[in-house]
Each structure stands twice: as structure tokens, then as C-alpha cells.
């Protein structure tokens, strides 16, 4: 993609393009920085955003979008630092993640979360805003002692991982509507949202295989049944409340169309959103 050529072409119909871009120095500067950093596939997003800056957009739209992206970035920091710490504990011998497929999966998920952090940072910068920044020291994954053994007890580590992933899915879902005005950013967010769901599905299967911290009589499945966390503590319940919905857009899903659809299946087949406030309340205990 020859960005220079495109700008030259715009110049031929809009001689003030450079002036417009120059008037938004930050947009231009951050664009150059951004485009040097990230994969080519993301360039259209960056370029579109830069033009948006140059030509202006409805007041507040960009701010609303960067707010959502910074919120998402915060969640990705939590996840990436969590998996980094867990993986280190495992390789350091203090957390018993079985070698082979389980440890491999944690490494895979860790790397996705790290990639999401980089991607969102670059996207926010390209919009002329400042990405939030966190380090390992920013977090307390024991949640003030509620999960004291999170990096020494494998079953607890998986339970917290499942909660983060399921919460992440619900958090992205809750923000999609706020990104509706920017096609590229919306698509990118959706493309992250489904990855979080893939992670959740896999972590849930790991929990089922491990069997720890699963209440008697409960089967942990790749999808969320009613408002069951499948975790033997009420500490994570806020991440699952509302998932029991069996009515969508006024349509009752149970036995819909004369087919046998149980309440369990009806609740499983639609994941529910969480508001930003709900998510903030859930993750607040994990900040140091």
C-alpha cells in the first residue's frame, strides 16, 4: 500500500491536504510511528483514522472510540500480565501446569493477549490519543487475598483464567455499539472478541480435564450454561449473572419453533454483554 501515492492523489483534488494534516500534527506524527510498528494488514485502519483526523469527525466520536479502546487495552493488560505471571510460575516450578498441551495452550493464549496489547496501543496512538499503560506491578492477581494461591494452585489459576476470558467476551460485546461509527475499529474489536471466546472455550475444556474447583453435579462446558460459573466460589459470580437469559429481542428461545430447546441450551446459545461499569467492578480487585 503506497500511502504517499494516495496522499499525492488527494492533493490533486484537495491542495490543502498537507495543511489539514499539518494542522493535526499529532495525527500525522503518530501515524508515521504507528505504521512503522504494526503489521501491514492494519494500515488501512491507521490511514483511515488519520484522514478522519485531518478532515474532522463529529465532535466526541473519536474520544468515545479511544475511550473504548483504552478500556479494552486495560482488560488486555490484565490478561497478558496474568498469563505472563502464570507461565513464568509454571516454568519456574511453582505452578503445576502440566507440560505438553496444557502449558502450550497457556503460552499460546499469553502470546495472543500480548499481541492484543500491542495492537490496541498502536490503534489508540493512531487516533491521536494516549494509550493507558500498566506493568506487572500494577496488578494483584490474588484479588486482595481472595485467590491467594492463584499462582501455586493450577485449578485456581484455570478458574481465574476462565473468569477473565468469559468477562472479556462480555466486555467487548458490551462495547460493540459504541464503535458502530468506525467500521475498521469495530471489525478489529469483533476480531478480538471472537478470539477471547475461543480462549474461554479452551480454558473451560482444560478445567473439565483438570476437574478442580468444579461444584458437584456441574459439568463445565465450552459454553456458559445459565448463570453457572462452574467454579466453587461466589467470588466470580458477577461475571456470570445475566447469562441465564432465555429471551432474545422479545423472542422466547426455549422450545422455539416447536423444536426441543431446553432452558440450558437457550441460555448457552447467546452470550450476554456486560456494561463498562459492571466490568470495572469485576476487575477492580485485581489492581494493586
Amino acid at each position: 500500500m503506497k500511502i504517499e501515492n494516495i496522499i499525492n492523489q488527494i492533493e490533486s483534488v484537495d491542495p490543502e491536504i498537507y495543511q489539514r494534516l499539518d494542522g493535526r500534527r499529532n495525527a500525522m506524527k503518530s501515524f508515521v510511528k504507528f505504521s512503522g510498528k504494526i503489521a501491514l494488514a492494519s494500515l488501512p485502519i491507521a490511514f483511515g483514522s488519520m484522514l478522519n483526523k485531518a478532515y474532522g469527525s463529529p465532535t466526541g466520536t473519536d474520544d468515545a472510540i479511544t475511550d473504548v479502546l483504552n478500556f479494552a487495552l486495560t482488560l488486555e493488560y490484565i490478561e497478558s500480565e496474568f498469563y505472563k505471571a502464570g507461565y513464568s510460575a509454571a516454568t519456574g516450578g511453582t505452578l503445576a501446569i502440566p507440560a505438553g498441551a496444557p502449558l502450550g495452550a497457556i503460552k499460546t493464549i499469553r502470546d495472543h493477549e500480548i499481541a492484543h496489547v500491542s495492537f490496541l496501543k498502536a490503534a489508540i496512538t493512531s487516533l491521536g490519543a494516549t494509550p493507558v499503560s500498566f506493568t506487572a506491578a500494577s496488578f494483584d492477581f490474588t484479588a486482595k487475598g481472595a485467590f491467594a494461591n492463584v499462582f501455586t494452585d493450577y485449578a485456581l489459576f484455570l478458574a481465574v483464567a476462565q473468569t477473565f476470558e468469559d468477562t472479556g467476551v462480555r466486555a467487548y460485546k458490551g462495547q460493540a455499539g459504541n464503535l458502530i461509527s468506525n467500521n475498521d475499529i469495530l471489525t478489529a474489536a469483533l476480531n478480538i472478541h471472537s478470539v477471547e471466546a475461543r480462549h474461554a472455550s479452551h480454558i473451560r475444556q482444560m478445567r473439565r480435564a483438570n476437574g478442580g474447583l468444579i461444584p458437584a453435579g456441574v459439568t463445565v462446558k465450552p459454553w456458559i450454561t445459565l448463570n453457572q460459573s462452574g467454579i466453587g466460589t461466589t467470588a466470580v459470580q458477577a461475571s456470570y449473572n445475566g447469562e441465564e437469559a432465555t429471551t432474545q429481542a422479545g423472542v422466547n428461545i426455549v422450545n422455539i419453533g416447536g423444536f426441543t430447546i431446553s432452558a440450558n441450551a437457550a441460555s448457552e446459545c447467546f452470550d450476554e454483554p456486560l456494561t463498562k461499569d459492571q466490568v470495572v467492578a469485576i476487575v477492580t480487585p485485581f489492581f494493586a
Binding site: I192, V195, A197, R198, W223, A249, F259
Partner: protein, 232 residues
């Protein structure tokens, strides 16, 4: 004289497909016959004419996108329903239970769109799964993986085509469940492959409707017209 809509449609489709097969050299010789057919059709009552001669119209705007989702859910639901007509040999209890869950989810999705679209819903599609070996675990899971990954990329690509935040949220509620399915099926085939196929930024795939139907079209016998769907 043609009197009913369906025979008009069939004739037009025949005319159209013949048309495609005509080489440039024969074009002038052929056009007489084709226009005679079109003329005959045009002579019929106006309101009996199909809106297009290019198959079932998914429609435009948000309705078009919902019909697009309805078409995909019809494929998935029919596929999983067919698995249980005669499960592959060696299916485990746990596999059967979870694949049964997925069948129920897809049937619920299909029926939800049908109910939500009501009079605007496209008809039941005629499907053809003859290329899938339902007797083999590899055949079934391979097809399931393809359908689920396709569904995820289709919903991800459709998000930007939707104008109503409510419909966008509904699509979001469904796509994450499809992604849970996709990851589960992938893990059944090869443990640890739940998210293979992401890009370097850790992002899932999205596909446009035409990209999706280029793949899904193999299984759909009903001719679909996606040309009125939103483009961006």
C-alpha cells in the same frame, strides 16, 4: 403463455445460464431466442414478476444482513441435525453430548432469525451435504470446523454492515458462541488448535458475504442473490 411466477423464474434462470455458456461468436445468433423468452416473461402481470432473476433475494439493509445470518444458521443447523440421524461410529458419550448441544444452539439460532424476520425471512433453503462423509469422525469434524470458522468470520465481517446497535449486539451475542463451538471442534480434531489461523496481531478472521458464499455455496442448492446486501 406463462401464467405463474415459478415457471417464469425457472425459464429466466435457464435463459440466464444458457446465456453464460454462449461464446462471443454465437452471441448474435443466440440473442433472438433469449429476448423471445424475456419478452414472453415481460408480457405477464407485473406483480408476478420475480424481483430479480438471480435467485432468492436476501434483501438490503439490516434485514438483508439478518437474512444472511439466517441463511448461514440454516446450513449449520441442518448439518448438525444430519449428524444425529446416524452418528459416526465410535462417537463418545461426551462428544455426542456436546455436539448435541451445538445442534440445539444452531437450531435455536435458525429459529430465532426466522421468528425475528417474520414476513421478511427468506424461505427454507435447499441444502446438499453429499460431499460430506457423515459416517466418518474425520469427515464430520472437518466439516464442522469449516462451518464454525466460516460462521465466526461471517459474523465478524457482517458487524460493520449493520446499522442498528441492537442488531449488532444480537450478532455479537451469537458470534462468541460460534467461536466457542469453533474452538471446541478444533480441539477435538487436534488439541491446542483452538485459535490457529489468527493473524500476527492475534486477531480472528472476518469475511465479506461474497467470500462466505464462495465457500458455503457448495452446500446450498437454492440460488441466492446477495447483491442487495450492504457493502460497507
Amino acid at each position: 403463455m406463462l401464467t405463474n411466477n415459478s415457471s417464469n423464474k425457472e425459464l429466466l434462470e435457464v435463459a440466464e445460464s444458457n446465456f453464460k455458456n454462449v461464446s462471443r461468436r454465437n452471441f448474435l445468433g443466440y440473442i433472438g431466442g433469449a429476448s423471445a423468452l424475456l419478452f414472453t416473461a415481460a408480457a405477464c402481470k407485473k406483480d408476478e414478476m420475480p424481483a430479480t432473476n438471480n435467485g432468492v433475494d436476501l434483501g438490503s439493509g439490516d434485514v438483508g444482513v439478518l437474512n444472511y445470518a439466517y441463511a448461514l444458521e440454516q446450513i449449520e443447523a441442518a448439518f448438525y441435525t444430519k449428524i444425529f440421524e446416524s452418528p459416526y461410529s465410535g462417537i463418545s458419550a461426551s462428544e455426542s453430548a456436546l455436539l448435541g448441544d451445538i445442534r440445539d444452539h444452531e437450531v435455536a439460532h435458525r429459529e430465532f432469525f426466522k421468528a425475528a424476520l417474520a414476513a421478511k425471512a427468506i424461505p427454507k433453503l435447499e441444502l446438499d451435504f453429499s460431499t460430506i462423509n457423515f459416517g466418518s469422525r474425520d469427515g464430520v469434524l472437518g466439516a464442522a470446523k469449516a462451518f464454525e470458522d466460516l460462521g465466526v468470520s461471517a459474523y465478524n465481517g457482517a458487524g460493520k454492515l449493520i446499522t442498528s446497535p441492537d442488531y449488532l449486539l444480537l450478532a455479537g451475542k451469537i458470534v462468541s458462541v460460534e467461536a466457542r463451538h469453533a474452538a471446541f471442534i478444533r480441539d477435538l480434531i487436534m488439541p491446542g488448535t483452538f485459535a490457529d489461523g489468527l493473524d500476527a496481531n492475534g486477531l480472528d478472521m472476518s469475511r465479506s458475504p461474497s467470500e462466505v458464499f464462495a465457500i458455503a455455496g457448495t452446500y446450498v442448492k437454492t440460488k441466492l442473490n446477495i447483491s442487495n446486501l450492504p457493502k460497507n
